[in-house]
Structures are given as structure tokens and as C-alpha cells.
Symmetry: C2
């Protein structure tokens, strides 16, 4: 925060023109959003909003739809509305809007006199509201509904839903806080903090920011709220099923936390909110805590795909360098949340390190969560498979389905930022917007075939000549990047990953930026025991994998990639609309006699290895897959 | 069965003189057996035998001892008596015998009028006996109690317990079978078949053999007994929690089974019983089924340690070549059961392939289950660890604790077999016995420092000169084995892994057998995806591992063993009473800048690798461990 900060240009102000994101967006608009609504209907989630009604049967046995009622269902509704609203910003759709309006009708009817709104509690045990923040997701659901309401308002200007949610937020603000008679609680699953900050940015109502800051700062204080709450319920706090408050990052005050622990999505939502608060409040302490946690996660606990959280039991972190591939949990939501956090860190410091991780998680760990046809999902994103991993049409806990669709539908919101005297490009891929610089309207049009090519063309079209600083993110993977304005080369001297071109811009100015995408090998820190002797492949922002569909003849794990083998990019018009593969001469191990164990090493026979962008895997017939390929060093 | 079969020389007829097994035996006698009795007492298992009494609280919440009551507790009592009885054969012990007698008193009191005996059902729900063979372990418990009674009788000659159990077996024989009014059931957890065959061998009562054969042959027939039984309980058979009858190998008749599936211990107890029946009944069909299953497990589903069953959820098998190291289940009981099965296969065909696997599972996958000091256990036996695996003092399901102690206490019973005209050595390690060959008493005394050295000396001392065939197992790992009688070299021309020395033996004959133990590298079939690019180390019967305690400086997984590096055996008097380590010049990967991912490969710095026999791991401070070491091929 040494310079005046940049602020993101919101999704609603940015158009997408590139083939890559346009295609994903059309799939989400045309197939994902409608099919998710059908699922919300089929499994009983929409029905659960229709109060009053006799409560459906509890978790076990299943309800008539074959799904079990869940305390987090309100959040899925909120996330679907949010994703749909982002989509509506690209193309209005009467049918989708009517569906949202019907949900808003139900929520209005369900809301209690005092503003409280949670369909699980209102329908099932209204007298027990706010008695189990640790486990029961009330504040989390409120956060997601609020984000949905804000996105819907931004996309359509309709504020009925927002009114409902502001009443609920008023109620929450009256219940929680440091004042007399207030509960000193905070969410077991962080999320509402992000929503409250968004609400503050929309309405400028300071109380929302203060409530978010309260939730963050109260977290982990002693006496521990979740313990007191458990005692009040007649339970032994030591009986907490997760075993430790690290699970929800309330083991100590957030400013004292230096290691990412526990449930990955909760942790990333929390750090994203901390970064937002650090910016809004100029809070250096929160910023330093964010930086320490960022270093920890990116230097010791992040998959090469931008996946987070290796373990299923806590859906989260274990310990440094513990990054198993086949059993990786690496929840889609966690990579989505890492995009959120990285984006916010960028606005604390315009540092390409944040931009690189944002791009990595977006194009790999997060995008892999959505199938090509847009109706199947990965909840977990392993980096290796024997073919047992298949995409889900739905999930008992469908959080990831709508998290990936809301990210894709809002990807334009991650591309650009501005401040009074500057515009910054974080992502490339066909983004257009118009900004005002010192009162001058400047149209910006970036065109590229990103992520397949790093050749970027940016047209700058101010109403009249105007001085400003064009900041261009130069990814760390770009080898020998170069740029020109018109035919004139420009020296790129990136500072912290951003090149800065400060000049008087005129109508017709064109910046050509070349970010050469070399196919590269990546090696993990040797403490990542699973990846010793293995190599991963990357080209530009994309991490690759080797899938059996492209490499028939046995499990892909029997392939060896010689250290010196050239990696040839090969565009494949027949593959997923033109994916770039990487092809290399390789070896395949073959056993002489088929014995399970032998004293002679297996023979390495000549083979050809074809690697596919990781986010595209598991869209064809089942088969083995790996990101980390055994390397032949000799 | 082309030749007349060999029969095992029972544990009670063989004395152990070697330092290796003598030490393990003393630990089991002096520490394991007494401490297990204390545990049986502490956790409430002994109390559960004292009927009638008000039933203790059910599974959840825990009983006053902090442990949950379990349907399989009778089996733990049976196994403890069995293990203790094997120990008593080496050294009688009044205190242990008094404890067994007290248990027998309780069991006699508990037994129902009609002979039925199961303390869970008798104490808790006597009206529901034999209503859930699929899940509730009644026949399994009966089997283990019966094995305990037989071992106790063999060790002491006391038959009170055996009488109780024969009454129970009479009852079981009246309840189950093909006759009118009988239930066509069979155990959900195989075990009683083995016990019934032992009882037949002791008493020659053919009914016992027939009942075992009935249980084996009825298994998996349609209509499926477990389905009918579930319907009779008012349950939907499709709701079987394990999902498939493969879990307990009742998915099809046993003679049609060609792939090992499901729960590994159940499967191995079943195949062991099938081999016994094939021998006793001369049943070629059962023999062929055993051979097919043997090929499947040893060629595609066995860890290099002789561990079996990679997956926790079914405690068993998944699919060919699926042998993950760090998450290996490889239950101690499964390796113990593999020893049982291999031993029985040896008596169908004297084939060293069976002997090799028996030795492998015994010295590695099974023996690793017992700590050096004899009071801590591994239930699962992973082949890799980051240090999170520690031995248990006890387990909710303590099956493995007494399985490993009964195996160690009875190891003498696996060493030798005989028939009218021959004696066969399967194991070496200081075994002495006296056999009768054609009416002539022959004392045999084998002395060696096995498994540390393959120099074996066998003294043969017949009362008077006698012709017989001395069969010596020549392990597949032995490179250039040789032998001499006195000073006279003998040509070893092993057939199916056994060398045969047929001659007239005289008092004072000494056979010197040299089985050179070279330190060797093992490579897995390339379809074992986890082991590609990795190498395991073996010397003689012992598989080695690399443990952090011997290789400080970071996780052992960052070590590389060059393909050509010499492996030097190094005897370590300071280590576990003189273990043989393997030492090699090696490399350790070091990262230049500590980044999690880098485009430059990590540097390989000179290091020294020390490998320890796998069965000795996790007896010092926690740390990383691996059996499969990354190989530097260059």
C-alpha cells in the first residue's frame, strides 16, 4: 500500500471476446445454470424454501428425492442466483430471471418478522437459531444469499432480494457484536465476511464493514465462543467432531495465524476477507497476517495445479509438502477461493506473484471442476488417477458446482483493475471495457488467443489524449516477453511482475505484448515426497496432464519422460475445440515376464507421450491420468 | 499331489535354538502374552464372558473401560489362549495356565444347555442367535475359541476347554447343513473352517471335516443365504453396508473364484481352509481353485513385503497392481493368514514358490506387526510414511495383536514337514526335532544365524542308519547355493525350489548348506504405478526399508539410490541386538532456493543411504520411512 491502490473493474463492466472464455461462458449460460436449477428443484432444495410446511424427514433416511436435507441448502440457492446473475450481465434471460424471482418470493415469505432468514431453522427448529454456529452454517448461508442478492441487483437493478437480505443483515448486526446483550459469535464456516464487504462497497453503509471486521477479529479469542456455545447446548466442547479448532481456523486470533490449517475453503474465504479488510481499513496488521499465510500456502501447501488441501477427512490442509496426487482432495471450491484471495491480495500490492497464482488456480485447479459439456463436476481434483475418478452429475454437498459456475460467469471481473491514473491488466483473454481516467473515457480492447497463445493486442481508444499508466502483468512463466506500441518496441522492465507503460495515450494506439509460451518442465521441492523423480509440464498458464485416452497401451504411469526430450506444442482442432497438446518422445516400461517383482529393471521401450491441459481431463472414456510424470534422467 | 504328501511337524514337536526366533519368542512369552491378558481385562473383554450379567452398554457410548463392546470379543479370547498355549509348549507357566483356566470356567458357565456358546448373544440378545451370519461373527468366534481349545489341549493335555468346544461344534453341526430343518448358512467371516479341520486332525472325527467342507462349498450358492437372512430380519439385502458380497467372498461359489477380492483376511482364511480340504479330501477342484487364486494374488496383488489388501474401506483388495505405499492397509492379520495359506499350499505340492511367499510374509508383512519390546502393534503396515504411523498399545479391533503373537509363538510349526520316507525343511533358523522314519528315530538339529546369514548346518542323528530323503528349500533369492555333507560337496539340483538329498543317513552326518544372501534390488511390474522409477532392497528373506532415524537430514523420500551403487551389508551390534543394515552411496535432492516448484531440477548431493529390515521400523523416534526408494538411473 505504498502507492494508491488499484480497484477491480467489476464483471458487469467488462465484456469477453476471446474464443476460450466465450466458449466456457456460453456453456455456463446455456447449460450449467439451467441444469443446476433443475437439480436444485429435483433434489428438494427449492422445495425447502417454501415455508411454512411440515419439515421433511431429516438427514437419514433420504427424502423423496433421494437426497438428504442439509443445513447448507440456503447457500446453494444463494450461489446459484449469484452465478446466474453474473451470466445475466452478459445476456439477459427472462426465463432465468423468472426463476430467481420465484425464489425471492419464497425467501420473502420465509423471512421472520425480525428479519431472520434461514430455511432449515425456520422450518425445522426455529427455537434453536444461533445455537450452533460452529457446525450449522447459518451465517455461511446468510453470506451466500447476500452475495446472490448483490450480484442480482448489480446485474438487473432489481432490489427486492437485496432488501430482504439487508433486513437480515440488520438482524445479524443486532445479534452479534461486542455490545451489551450481544452474542460474541462468528461463523463456523467463514463466508459472510466477504458478502458484508461487498454490501459495504455497494451501499457504503459502514456498519457492514464493521460487522465483517468484528467477525474476523473476534475469531479465535478466548474464552472460545464455540466452546461456550457447546456447553450451552449441554455438550462437551472436547467432543467436537473435527477434533481441533484448527479445522475452522478459530484455534487462535487470525492476526496470530502464520500457517494455513484446517478446512481449506473456510481458510481461503477467511484470508480473502482479511485482505479485503486490510485494504478497506488500511489495516497493516491484517495485511501482514495475509502475507504470512500466503507465503505458507504457496511455498509449502499448494498443488502445482493451484489445488489446495490434500486430505478428505478435514477437507483441508495437513502439513508442509504433504501433497499426495491420487488421493488429493484439492476441492474445486478451494481453488475458486484461492482465486478470490489472490485477486484481493493484488489490490493490496500489485504484485505479479499474486497474479500468477490467481491465473494458475483459475485455469487449472478451479476450471477442472467443470466438465466440457457443463453439466458434470469434480468436487475433488486429484493429480493422478487409475481411472476411478469420474465427474458427478450432482453431489450431496453441491457447493463446488455453483462455485465453479459463478467463477466462470464472473471471470471478466478478475481481468482488470484501475485507479485514478492507471489501468492494470491481470489476465488476458479477450477483455473489453471502458474506464474513466481523469474524466476522460478510455475504451480498452484486449484481443488474444490466450491461453493458447501469449500474443496479446490491446487497443487503447481515449475520447481525447490522456496520460495514464498502463500496467501489464508479465507472468513469471513468460520467457523473454516483449512489447511494442504500433511498430515501436517498448522496453519491458517489469517491477514485481508488472510492466508499466506511462505515456499520453491517443486514439488508435495499439500495444502488442508478446508473452512467449514455452513448454516447460516443473520440478517439485524434494520434500514433496510424492513427486521425487517426477516432472510436471506447463505451457503458459496451463498445467498439463497425461491421460490414457491420448496415450493408450497401459497405465500412463508406466511412461517415462527423458529429461532432455523436446516438448512440442501441437494444436489439435479435433480435441475440445482446438486444445494445444504437448508431444514428446518418451519411454514406456515393459516387464519381460510379467512377474510382480523382479531383480532386473523393466525395459524402457520407445513411446510417444501426449500431454493435455489438466483442466480438460476426464471428459472422455475412463482411464489413468497423471500430472507428475516419471522422469528418465539418463 | 503326484507324490505322497508331506505333513507338517507340529509346533509342539519342534524346539527353537536360533538367536533370532529365540529372542522374538522370549519377548512374546515374557511380555506380549501377559500384557495382552492385562488388556483383555482392562478393556472389558474378560468381563464380557461372565454370564449371566446385565449386558453392558452397547457400542456407543463406550463402556466404563473406554472401549466399545464388540461382537467379535470371544474371538480375541480364543486367540489369546491359542497364542498362550503355543508359548506354553516352549515353557510351562503356572500363572498363564491359571488365567486360561479361569476363562474356561467362565466359558463353561456361559455355555447354553444345547451347547451354544457366544457371550455377545447369550448376554445381550439370546433370541437372535444365528440371525446375522453375514455381519456378526458368531461362527468366526466359534472358530477362534476352538483353535484356542485345540492348542491348549495340545500344549497341556487338559481337555476341559476342548470338551466345551466339542459340545458347541456338535450344536453347530446340528444347526447348519443340507439336512431337513437345517440352516444353509455359512460364516460371514471365514475362520471356523480352519478350526474344524484342526479338530478333525486331532480327533479324527470325520464330521468335523465334513462340516468344514460344507461351509466352504455352500458359500456363494444361490439363492444367497445372506440375502435370505437379511430378508428374514426385515432388511433389504441390497442395503448391505459393504455393497457387494465380494466383500466376504460369497459373490460366487468358491470353486468358480479366480480373483482375490474383498476383505483380505476373510479371503486368506478361506483359501487356507480350501487348501486343507483339498489335501484331506484329495479334492482336485478345490486345489485348482486355490492355485488360480494363488497366482492372482502373488502375481498382481501382493506388496513386496508380503502385505495384502491396499484399501481401508473394505480392509482388502481393489484391483490388480493397485498397491499404494503410504496408504497401504496391508493388515497384519492378512500377512499372518497368507503364511497360513502358503504353509497349506506347500502340503499340496512341495513347491518352493509357496515356501518363498510364506517366508516373505512371515519375516516382513507379519513380523512388522509386533514392536521390538512386544507390547505395541501395527494393525496396518504401510510401505511408506511421513512419520504419522505409530504403533498402537491396543486397538478397538485387537485381532492383529493376537494374530502376530500366535504366529510368532508357533513359528516352529512352519519349519518342517515329513512323510514316511522324507523330511523337508521349509524354514531355517535353529529348529530341532525328532522324527520317526520307518520306525527309526532321527534327531534333526538345524543351526544357523538366519535370517542374517544363509550358512546353515544340519546335524542328522538317527538311532541307526536309515534311508530317507532330506528336502531342503532353496529360496529363489539364493544366488549360487551350495551344500556339502561333511567335507564332501553335494550337487544341489533343486526341483520346484527344493533340493533333495536321498541317502542312507548315519549318526554324525552333518549337512552344510550355504544360501548366499546377496543384497539385491527389486523392481515392480511397471503397472504398479506407485513404484515406477523406484527400487526396493532385499537381502535373503528380509525386505528392507529406509527410515529417517538412520538417515537424518530431511524426509527419506528425497534420497535417490543410483542404479549402480553397491549395497554393502553392515552388521550393527548396536541396533536391535545386531541387525544387518544395507549401506550404499546415494544422493539426496536439495532445492536451490526453497521454492515449491521450479523449472530447474533439484540438485542431487552426495549422501549415504542406510536401509533397515522392514520389520524393525517404527521402533525408534517418529520419522519418514519408505520401502520403495527413488532410483537414479543415470
Amino acid at each position: 500500500m505504498t502507492e494508491r491502490p488499484y480497484f477491480p473493474i467489476p464483471f458487469s463492466e467488462v465484456r469477453i471476446t476471446s474464443p476460450f472464455w466465450r466458449e466456457r461462458l456460453e456453456v455456463v449460460l446455456g447449460r450449467t445454470i439451467p441444469s443446476q436449477h433443475r437439480k436444485l428443484d429435483e433434489v428438494g432444495i427449492l422445495e425447502s424454501l417454501k415455508l411454512p410446511q411440515p419439515p421433511p424427514p431429516l438427514a437419514y433416511p433420504r427424502n423423496s428425492h433421494g437426497f438428504t436435507v442439509q443445513v447448507f441448502w440456503d447457500s446453494d440457492v444463494g450461489k446459484w442466483i449469484e452465478a446466474a446473475s453474473y451470466a445475466l450481465a452478459h445476456r439477459r434471460d427472462q426465463e432465468i430471471e423468472a426463476k430467481i424471482e420465484a425464489i425471492v418470493d419464497d425467501l420473502r415469505r420465509a423471512q421472520a418478522e425480525d428479519g431472520y432468514l434461514n430455511c432449515w431453522y425456520l422450518g425445522r427448529e426455529p427455537e434453536r437459531r444461533w445455537t450452533n454456529l460452529r457446525d450449522n452454517h447459518e451465517l455461511y448461508c446468510a453470506g451466500h444469499l447476500l452475495e446472490g442478492a448483490i450480484a442480482y441487483y448489480r446485474a438487473t437493478g432489481r432490489r427486492r432480494f437485496l432488501d430482504v437480505m439487508e433486513r437480515f443483515v440488520d438482524h445479524i448486526g443486532s445479534v452479534f457484536g461486542l455490545g451489551p446483550g450481544q452474542k460474541r459469535g462468528y461463523p463456523g464456516h467463514q463466508e459472510i465476511e466477504l458478502a458484508l464487504i461487498k454490501l459495504y462497497r455497494l451501499t457504503k453503509d459502514k456498519r457492514r464493514l464493521e460487522l465483517a471486521a468484528y467477525f474476523i477479529d473476534e475469531r479465535g479469542r478466548e474464552p472460545h465462543y464455540f466452546s461456550q456455545e457447546a456447553i450451552a447446548r449441554g455438550e462437551d466442547p472436547a467432543g467436537f467432531w473435527a477434533g481441533t479448532y484448527e479445522y475452522n481456523q478459530s484455534h487462535k486470533p487470525v492476526r496470530e495465524q502464520t500457517r494455513v490449517v484446517g478446512h481449506a475453503v473456510r481458510g481461503m474465504y477467511m484470508t480473502a476477507a482479511m485482505a479485503d479488510l486490510a485494504l478497506e481499513l488500511g489495516d497493516e496488521g491484517l495485511k501482514r497476517a495475509c502475507e504470512a499465510l500466503w507465503r505458507d500456502v504457496t511455498a509449502t501447501q499448494m498443488y502445482v495445479t493451484g489445488g489446495l488441501g490434500p486430505r478428505e477427512t478435514n477437507e483441508g490442509f495437513t502439513e508442509p509438502y504433504d501433497l499426495p496426487n491420487e488421493t488429493a482432495y484439492a476441492e474445486t471450491c478451494a481453488s475458486v477461493a484461492l482465486v478470490f484471495w489472490a485477486h484481493r491480495m493484488l489490490h493490496l500490492d500489485l504484485d505479479g506473484g499474486y497474479g500468477d497464482v490467481m491465473e494458475l488456480a483459475l485455469f487449472n485447479g478451479a476450471l477442472s471442476g467443470l466438465s466440457r459439456e457443463g453439466t458434470h463436476y469434480f468436487y475433488t481434483n486429484p493429480l493422478e488417477s487409475r481411472g476411478q475418478h469420474r465427474r458427478w452429475a450432482w453431489h450431496r454437498c453441491p457447493c463446488c458446482t455453483m462455485n465453479v459456475s459463478r467463477l466462470v460467469a464472473s471471470v471478466a471481473g478478475y481481468a482488470l483493475s484501475q485507479r485514478e491514473d492507471g489501468v492494470a491488466f491481470h489476465l488476458y483473454g479477450g477483455f473489453e471495457t471502458t474506464v474513466a481516467i481523469g474524466g476522460v473515457k478510455v475504451a480498452l480492447s484486449e484481443a488474444s488467443d490466450y491461453p493458447w497463445s501469449g500474443e496479446v493486442r490491446i487497443e487503447i481508444d481515449p475520447e481525447r489524449p490522456v496520460d495514464f499508466d498502463l500496467k501489464l502483468r508479465i507472468p513469471a512463466w513468460a520467457v523473454h516477453p516483449s512489447a511494442a506500441i504500433g511498430e515501436e518496441p517498448v522496453a519491458l522492465e517489469p517491477t514485481h511482475g508488472y510492466a508499466s507503460i506511462r505515456r499520453r495515450w491517443q486514439a488508435g494506439d495499439v500495444v502488442r505484448l508478446d508473452l512467449p509460451m514455452a513448454a516447460e518442465r516443473l520440478y517439485a521441492h524434494p520434500f514433496v515426497r510424492m513427486d521425487v523423480g517426477r516432472v510436471a509440464l506447463r505451457r503458459g498458464p496451463l498445467v498439463y496432464c497425461v491421460e490414457e485416452a491420448d496415450n493408450p497401451g497401459g497405465p500412463v504411469q508406466s511412461l517415462l519422460l527423458p529429461r532432455a526430450a523436446p516438448l512440442a506444442p501441437e494444436r489439435r482442432p479435433d480435441l475440445f475445440g482446438g486444445a494445444m497438446t504437448l508431444v514428446a518422445p518418451a519411454k514406456r516400461l515393459a516387464h519381460a515376464d510379467g512377474a510382480l517383482y523382479a531383480t532386473a529393471p523393466p525395459k524402457a521401450e520407445d513411446a510417444r507421450l501426449t500431454a493435455l491441459p489438466y483442466h480438460l481431463w476426464a471428459n472422455r472414456e475412463p482411464g489413468s491420468m497423471e500430472v507428475w510424470v516419471a522422469e528418465q534422467q539418463g
